[in-house]
């Protein structure tokens, strides 16, 4: 597969270099909101949506900043875009699904400080992707985030019934689970051919 093809970019972001399990972005929601599959899925969707909006806006802003030689403002501009996108999603969810709004709770505004979202915006700038490429990249990253958080929630739901030693409950257990998942995802590394 060619490294610039859209299929490769999607697969790369979603599976091969999964944002959560290989690049360590967005660990906080992975540990915090992965108690139930349904909540995890909604959280994943909300995050993926914010990723899409902010990545597209970030691409446009970057073109604008490059045009005026203002690269040093990039980080500040990106974070402002992300904060507004999160506000937008928050208002939408509050309007259309109040129960979901309550379930996500504090983690909804915290999407702002989810490094996965800023990560998508920064990486696509670093890779110098074109508009369509960055669109596909953010879609892939969103899909990868949903896959990781739902898998994690599924495992944790099963573990509720298991007899785990008291000291290992909570964060330590979740980290070990994430490690095993990450180990499994390393198996996909060969998918894209030799791109180290």
């Amino acid at each position: 597969m060619h490294a610039d093809s859209l299929t490769y970019i999607f697969l790369n972001a979603a599976i091969i270099n999964n944002f959560v399990l290989a690049l360590f972005l967005g660990i906080c929601p992975l540990l915090g909101v992965s108690g139930k599959i349904s909540t995890a899925f909604s959280m994943g969707l909300a995050t993926a949506f914010v990723m899409l909006i902010s990545s597209v806006s970030a691409w446009l802003i970057n073109e604008f900043l490059l045009h005026f030689n203002l690269e040093f403002l990039r980080l500040i501009a990106y974070i402002a875009v992300i904060a507004s996108a999160v506000q937008l999603v928050e208002m939408t969810i509050k309007r259309f699904s109040p129960p979901l709004y309550r379930a996500l709770g504090i983690f909804l505004p915290l999407i702002t400080t989810n490094c996965a979202i800023l990560g998508v915006a920064l990486f696509q700038t670093n890779y110098e992707y074109s508009f369509s490429q960055s669109l596909v990249y953010s879609l892939g990253a969103g899909a990868g985030f949903i896959i990781a958080i739902v898998l994690m929630a599924g495992l944790r739901e099963k573990l509720e019934l298991a007899d785990v030693p008291a000291i290992a409950r909570g964060a330590a257990m979740s980290l070990m689970l994430a490690g095993i998942l990450s180990l499994a995802f390393m198996g996909f590394a060969g998918l894209g051919g030799s791109t180290a």
Partner: protein
Amino acid sequence: MAANTEKPISLDTFLIGLWRENPVFVMLLGMCPVLAVTNSVINALAMGLATTFVLLCSTALVALLRRHIPKEVRIASYIVIIATFVTVVDYLIHAISLEIYHALGAFIQLIVANCMILGRAEAFASRNRVSTTLVNSLGMGVGFTIALLCLGSVRELLGAGTLLGIPVFGESFEPWIIMLLPPGGFFVLGAWLLLFAWVKERQLKQKTAGAGEAGVHAR
């Protein structure tokens, strides 16, 4: 309201970040850089120092401006302040060491999204004097750096058999490559958390055992 929540400076203001409210091991904040850049001691140290610098500067500025920032837009203001200092650090590291700059990659800029810094700005700097805030932030920063070093040293030791680039084990040591790869980060942090949970449980048991032979587990 802001005036009567101000805390005086004490040794505890500094120490709280080191142990009782350690941002990584206790509060579980700012996990992403903790896991991502700790594959060697030197990276961990650079990341810890960079984060401490941003934390000190931005919380000091927040504390200085705390009476002038309107409540409604405070989070946005904090983020802009943090982003400014992260940009400074980004250029600073770029100038000091290109090698470290490339090793840390996008994670320098991702300090913006470190929830620990925003959390400190919101929970401490917005209600305390500049001097108190500086002491507290220094404690938190040192605590964060120590946590990064804890992970970095274990991962470098097992994953490459070196410490700060110096070989520790003999020729015959077979490095555990897995420790340098992503899963290793999760496993080592999980193991540290287990260790701390175990130590805490033992302390609790000793306390209850010492308090009397009532023998009932106070839960």
